[in-house]
């Protein structure tokens, strides 16, 4: 039948092109420069679009500040100054003013809630999903946007889905095959090759452009690599430049298949859900892993959840109690080309991946940082905070002391107790119970 023949021919040419231009170079880690050309065209187009928007936007509604400045004027004076009333430091009826004002300020705007939604862009990047604040400007801009939609959904999406499919299948098949070999340096070399190739293919499946800085500080064997978490793609981005042993829960479904296959070729640390709750067990297994200097560095995301890449939240101290050398890594995405943040309450994994594959590109910077170890007299929490500050400074992110788990759970009572303690000291002086 003619139709079927034609379809067959198209498919085979398509696959040969993909094979030739993308898959083979991935094996050797070579780039043909196609993505660079794509990025250049993209950047030029977006710059043009920005200029048109700025020309067209009426003067009053420039949104330059909405992304970073708060919406209310804050008075950050400490509790004592804010509570100074008519008489000094004893309790007064008016103390309630300070607390109610702080409370209402938090209701109008708080630093945490805004971290769990995507960053607002200063200028539009021709994606429908970021078109929250932007108006209709001109016919030409709309035409470019329509063209963009066509390109993204009809050209890029099929290509990316094909690549992703190939990448994942190769990963599963490859690692299973390599897993059959007996333990040897050949096996390790092959498993690295398979991992790297498949990761590169998957990164191209997202049109990812990654800049690695300070490669000399790349995490070494026997260490722990620690990074800020924005999305599951973080893993992909880091493993494209080196192999890591991953830590995580065993999932079902597709993820489970991938996990089981990967662990055959290379010792990752997967836990059953029930085991995750037992902190001692987790710490013990991780300690055993890093004690073996020949094993790959462990990759851990101490925030425990995805944050929107404008700030770094509390690092859970568990990872910092294991000992060993910590290699911090800062990852910063460029939101202009695509929003990498996974808002797990809004999108499930599949819609998230679809969104990723219909963005322009994923552009990010990865900074490897010099290794850090726990100093004498420093406890795990202080160490965690030190590493967190280093990562935040390097990546240009703000630092927040809050726990990322706040998006699902309530704040711990210990934080409230601290505020209560401060207040009690003021009004009750030396009579307080500590």
């Amino acid at each position: 039948m003619e139709g079927a023949e034609l379809a067959g021919k198209i498919l085979s040419t398509w696959l040969t092109l993909v094979l030739g231009f993308i898959l083979l170079p991935s094996v050797f880690g070579v780039s043909l420069g196609i993505s660079e050309i794509y990025m250049k065209i993209l950047v030029k187009t977006l710059e043009w679009a920005t200029i048109r928007i700025e020309k067209g936007a009426p003067k009053e509604s420039t949104l330059k500040n909405s992304a970073s400045v708060g919406i209310i004027q804050r008075d950050e004076s400490p509790m004592e100054k804010g509570l100074s009333g008519l008489r000094g430091r004893d309790f007064e009826l008016s103390d309630v003013f300070y607390f109610s004002k702080k409370g209402l300020e938090a209701i109008v705007e708080d630093e945490v809630t805004q971290r769990f939604s995507s960053e607002e862009l200063v200028s539009w990047n021709l994606l429908t999903r970021t078109n929250v604040n932007f108006h209709y400007i001109s016919l030409r801009l709309t035409m470019v946007w329509v063209l963009g939609v066509i390109v993204r959904y009809c050209v890029l999406l099929p290509l990316r889905v094909t690549l992703a499919f190939i990448g994942i299948s190769l990963l599963v098949i490859g690692t299973t095959l390599v897993g059959q070999l007996p333990d040897s340096s050949l096996k390790n070399w092959l498993s690295e090759l398979v991992h790297l190739t498949c990761c590169r293919i998957c990164v191209r499946a997202l049109s990812g452009t990654i800049h690695y800085h300070n490669k000399q500080h790349r995490p070494q064997k026997g260490g722990i690599c620690v990074a800020n978490h924005t999305s599951p793609i973080d893993v992909l981005i880091l493993t494209t430049d080196g192999c890591y042993a991953m830590v995580g829960q065993v999932h079902g479904g597709l993820m489970g298949i991938i996990q089981r296959a990967m662990v055959k070729a290379c010792p990752h640390v997967w836990f059953e859900r029930s085991e995750m709750k037992d902190r001692h067990l987790v710490t013990k297994r991780l300690k055993e892993h890093i004690a073996d200097k020949k094993k790959l560095p462990i990759l851990i995301f101490p925030e425990g959840t995805c944050i929107n890449n404008t700030s770094v939240m509390m690092f859970k101290k568990g990872s910092f109690e294991i000992g060993g050398t910590i290699h911090p890594v800062a990852i910063k995405y460029n939101p202009q080309f695509g929003d990498a943040f996974w808002n797990s309450s809004k999108y499930n994994m599949v819609s998230y991946l679809l969104r990723m594959m219909t963005s322009w590109a994923i552009v990010c910077d990865v900074w490897y940082m010099p290794p850090m170890t726990r100093e004498v007299g420093e406890d795990a929490v202080q160490f965690a905070n030190r590493v967190k500050s280093a990562i935040a400074t390097q990546g240009g992110l703000t630092e927040l002391p809050w726990d990322g788990g706040l998006k699902r759970a309530k704040v711990k009572d210990t934080f409230k107790e601290e505020q209560q303690k401060n207040y009690s000291k003021m009004i009750a002086g030396n009579g307080s119970l500590n």
Partner: protein
């Protein structure tokens, strides 16, 4: 691809809310945005739990009382007008508010209404009086377990005695207002929304 800037069209009854609260259109748009961000499950209203999830509010010693102030009359939900009505108490006092038509109802951010909001944070059973017992309970909320019962009772007794003028052992709204007449309430209970 039309204009999406007129968010005000999305807010139901925006004009009556504007008249009642005195917020500008732009402020209402921002507050509506915030309301929607807090309404995680897109229910159209906020429950106590939505407010409890705000970290900075949960650690506030008066957090529970503030959350309660959004749910008057035992309701379990607060819609956008109700939300803004409470926030309107904290609107800074501007000049156009002071030369008001005496026939119009008092604006929500008047000194008296700000004081009334603060009064209600103490008045647990909403009977118009702060009894010694209520004062003790609110103080307990604010200090947690850090202060002994005896000390707290002393503080509560002193405070009620100082404010109580008619000797009924409780602080009425009038007495509350009188004891705070020298306080710059307008400044202490104002949150300025940036344009």
């Amino acid at each position: 691809m039309g204009s999406r800037s007129s968010h005000a069209a999305v807010i139901p009854d925006v004009d009556s809310i504007r008249r009642e609260t005195g917020f500008s259109q732009a402020s209402l748009v921002r507050l509506h945005h915030r309301f929607q961000a807090l309404d995680r499950n897109k229910k159209g209203y906020l429950s106590r739990m939505d407010l409890q999830q705000i970290g900075a509010l949960a650690v506030n010693p008066l957090g529970d009382r503030i959350i309660e102030s959004f749910f008057p009359n035992g309701s379990q939900r607060v819609d956008f007008p109700g939300f803004v009505r409470v926030l309107a108490h904290f609107r800074p006092v501007e000049d156009e508010d002071t030369d008001q038509d005496p026939k119009k109802p008092e604006p929500l951010n008047s000194r008296r209404n700000k004081l009334h909001y603060a009064f209600q944070l103490y008045d647990l059973d909403r009977d118009g009086k702060i009894s010694r017992h209520e004062m003790l309970q609110v103080l307990r909320l604010m200090v947690g377990v850090q202060v002994t019962e005896e000390q707290l009772e002393n503080i509560a007794d002193r405070t009620v005695q100082e404010a109580d003028e008619d000797g009924d052992g409780a602080v009425s709204f009038l007495e509350f207002t009188k004891s705070l007449e020298k306080m710059d309430v307008e400044q202490k209970m104002s949150i300025r929304i940036l344009k």
